[in-house]
Subunit: 164 residues, 2 copies
Amino acid sequence: MADEVGRDPEAVSKFVESFAAQLVEAGMQRMPARVFAALLSSDEGVMSSAELGEQLRISPAAVSGAVRYLTMTHMVSREREPGSRRERYRVHGDQWYEALTNREALIKRWEGALREGVSSLGADTPAGRRMAETLAFFEFVEGEVAAMMERWRAHRRQLFGGEG
Amino acid sequence: MADEVGRDPEAVSKFVESFAAQLVEAGMQRMPARVFAALLSSDEGVMSSAELGEQLRISPAAVSGAVRYLTMTHMVSREREPGSRRERYRVHGDQWYEALTNREALIKRWEGALREGVSSLGADTPAGRRMAETLAFFEFVEGEVAAMMERWRAHRRQLFGGEG
DNA sequence: CGCTTCTTTCAGAAATTTGTGAAGTTAAGG
DNA sequence: CCTTAACTTCACAAATTTCTGAAAGAAGCG
């Protein structure tokens, strides 16, 4: 496996850590953030568990935990080369930020909590009305996001061409 | 100060805690989340420091810290009745979720980190191209969100009328 | 101008979260 | 079927975060 020479490992590491820090500040846990940033900055967008552990100086256990989170949120997918027990993790380049905007499940739960609030506090009370409005906002956003992503794909095609 | 009878305090508290839990899961700290949920479920959308402390069973210090966070993120504003040293905190009903979508500063920093990544890894490398695309996505979203909020306001007017 | 009431700051105790080593599990290859 | 390489799970130590009581800091009111 030829190392990609021409890449300054220190520059890569610097980017990885600084981008991970931004993700952490946005609420992501540290290890998932670092693993994700490492994948994002790898040339192929693919790394093995061992490579991740080595570059980030973390234990296999930490890699495992981070990857579990990242795959559950669909920011990363796992692959296996046929006839190997080496797992490979891939960031899909145009899927991960779609996953980012895709807080569907989260929004659904907010909506659930708000609906309960409206009915338990009373739809005819000021607080109930405030919650009903908030609920309407989330429902609105839910629809808009889908349309926005459609426009993005068109825009992207225009900027980068059909495949990326 | 007449207690609002007709409101079941237990139902209110149940909503407050369950909505706060959702906010926590989305990355907000516990105390800000609880304080915010309490305000949201109050009839006038306004509560004093003492009322918050009493309902949530937390110290004045905790209220202070939570409110500091909430005002910094523009989810809550502080008021003072003239001629009183009692602070009052208000959730604006149609401002707070605008603040929620308004991750302007956050997105700007992500963009900064990505720009650095593109230039330090090389715009002509696969990784550099992946980051450039991600950057383009954020720039796109930034513009779209503003337009979306404009549409929301129109939609809202249609649903609830001009003032709320 | 001092008293009183409310808010903020701060140090530290308590609780939670995080990452590791070690043991356990799965599956490829002989 | 056994060996071995790789990933995962688990208990615990360490680090971090969170919330409180106490003291300090503002600001109305007499």
